[in-house]
Structures are given as structure tokens and as C-alpha cells.
């Protein structure tokens, strides 16, 4: 199959996000993506899953991998309570070193690691849609 779609349903259990990274590795290999891009996709998925687990307060999340000729699209979907991205502070280490809260890096990492990222969130859930182009940016 040239352009497959893969869907995962993940229960919220410790380290289950690694299941999604294994799937990402197989799909990246199918697309002949570089090791660097594969690592970036996997890390972005890990962070998106963790955000969904922590903030959605749901028991499961869904991950869709959509392969096209020029890019991989990954959607991380939860049916939780949603969040307001505009209220998420952009982190920097100088502030984090002074702060009690060292965490809060997920959105920043995903933004830096993927080519595009969009958040669609309301009280019925959140969908993170992120893409990685097959060529360029290396």
C-alpha cells in the first residue's frame, strides 16, 4: 500500500506513548524518512501524548498517522475537557531555573520539532495535527 493510514487507540497507562513511537518508526521507514526526522516525529508524539494524558482527564487517546507523497501527518486526539493554548506560557530555562515548576515544555518541543502544528481544542476535546515534510529542513 503506497499511502497507508494507521490508527491507534491508547489507554492511559504508564509509558504507553512508546507504542506510538514504535509505530512512527515503522511508518517513517516505509516513507524512507531520515533517522533525524524519525526521532523528531517520535519525540513530538511523546510530548503530545503526555499533554493529552495529563490535561484531558480521559481514559484513552487516539493517534492517526496519515501518509501522503510529500509528508506525514500525525493527529493526536482526545475527547477530554480541552485547553486554551493562549494561556500556555512559552518556557525558557532562565525562568525555569528560578521557578518551582520546571515542567511545561511540551508545546514548545512539538513546535520546534515538527514542520507544522495546529491545535483545535474546545470543551469536547483536543486534536493536535502536526506534519513532517518528507524532504528538506535537514
Amino acid at each position: 500500500m503506497k499511502n497507508p493510514e494507521v490508527e491507534l487507540k491508547l489507554p492511559v497507562i504508564p509509558d504507553i506513548e512508546l507504542t506510538a513511537t514504535k509505530t512512527a518508526e515503522v511508518i517513517s521507514k516505509h516513507m524512507s524518512l531520515s533517522e533525524e526526522k524519525t526521532g523528531e516525529i517520535s519525540m513530538a508524539i511523546i510530548e503530545s501524548c503526555i499533554n493529552a494524558f495529563e490535561h484531558s482527564k480521559t481514559k484513552e487517546i487516539y493517534i492517526h498517522f496519515i501518509v501522503s507523497d510529500d509528508k506525514l501527518t500525525v493527529k493526536v486526539i482526545d475527547h477530554g475537557k480541552g485547553f486554551d493554548k493562549s494561556k500556555v506560557e512559552i518556557p525558557n530555562i532562565e525562568n525555569k531555573l528560578k521557578s518551582e515548576r520546571k515542567r511545561g515544555w511540551g508545546l514548545q518541543l512539538v513546535a520546534e520539532l515538527m514542520d507544522t502544528v495546529e491545535y483545535d481544542s474546545d470543551e469536547s476535546g483536543t486534536t493536535v495535527t502536526m506534519t513532517k515534510k518528507k524532504e528538506g529542513n535537514e
Binding site: 509509558d15 526521532g39 511523546i46 503526555i50 518556557p91 531555573l97 518541543l109
Partner: protein, 114 residues
């Protein structure tokens, strides 16, 4: 010792902590526990060997920021070695590498830190 820690040894006054597996909150806390024990006994130089931790998450890495903060208070140093490409990139994005050097091997790290 935690499953997340493969080995802890001292070389030329440098505490070398080798991690094992997914570097998540559990692994981060395990490194912090070793760090706290060694710091209480006077150690100020730490090298984290991540040759067996090719996957990290930001929660685990955030715990390393706590270690950097503690070391700043005692003029100590932490460095890393054997980082996978994506782990080093993650450290760059989070700013960890502004405060910690990355070395190609344990020996190179110990030589520079000692």
C-alpha cells in the same frame, strides 16, 4: 539501585551516572536521588552517560533542570555524554546545553570535568 540507573562510579573526582532505558519522570527522579546522595557527601562534578537512554520525555529532562539549579548554588558542574541525536536536540531546545557541556565519551567528559 533503580532499574533506570545502569551504573554509578567515581572517576578522578567525577561522579559518572549511567542511565538505562526511557528517560521519563521515574528515570529523572532516580538520577536526582543519586545526585542528592553524592552531593551530600561532597561531590560537585557529575557526568550523565545516556548511551542506553535513546528516548526521553520533557518531564524526565525537567528534573535535570533542578539538578542544574542545585549545582549553581555550590559552583558545581554537570555534563552529558553519549547522547542520541534527538536527545541532544531536545536538550538544545530546552536550553540544557547552555549550562551543561556534551562530550563524545565518558573518558572525554571525565578528563574535562576533573
Amino acid at each position: 539501585m533503580s532499574d533506570s540507573i545502569k551504573n554509578v562510579e567515581e572517576k578522578n573526582g567525577v561522579v559518572v551516572i549511567s542511565t538505562n532505558g526511557y528517560f521519563n519522570n521515574i528515570a529523572g527522579d532516580a538520577v536526582l536521588e543519586v545526585f542528592n546522595e553524592k552531593m551530600e557527601s561532597g561531590s560537585k562534578k557529575f557526568l550523565i552517560d545516556m548511551s542506553d537512554s535513546k528516548v526521553v520525555n520533557s518531564i524526565g529532562v525537567s528534573i535535570l533542570i533542578e539538578i542544574i539549579e542545585k549545582l549553581q548554588g555550590v559552583d558545581g558542574k554537570m555534563a552529558f555524554t553519549n547522547l542520541a541525536g534527538i536527545v541532544e536536540k531536545t536538550f538544545n531546545i530546552m536550553g540544557i546545553t547552555k549550562y551543561c557541556e556534551v562530550y563524545e565519551s565518558i573518558d572525554a567528559g571525565v578528563e574535562k570535568l576533573a
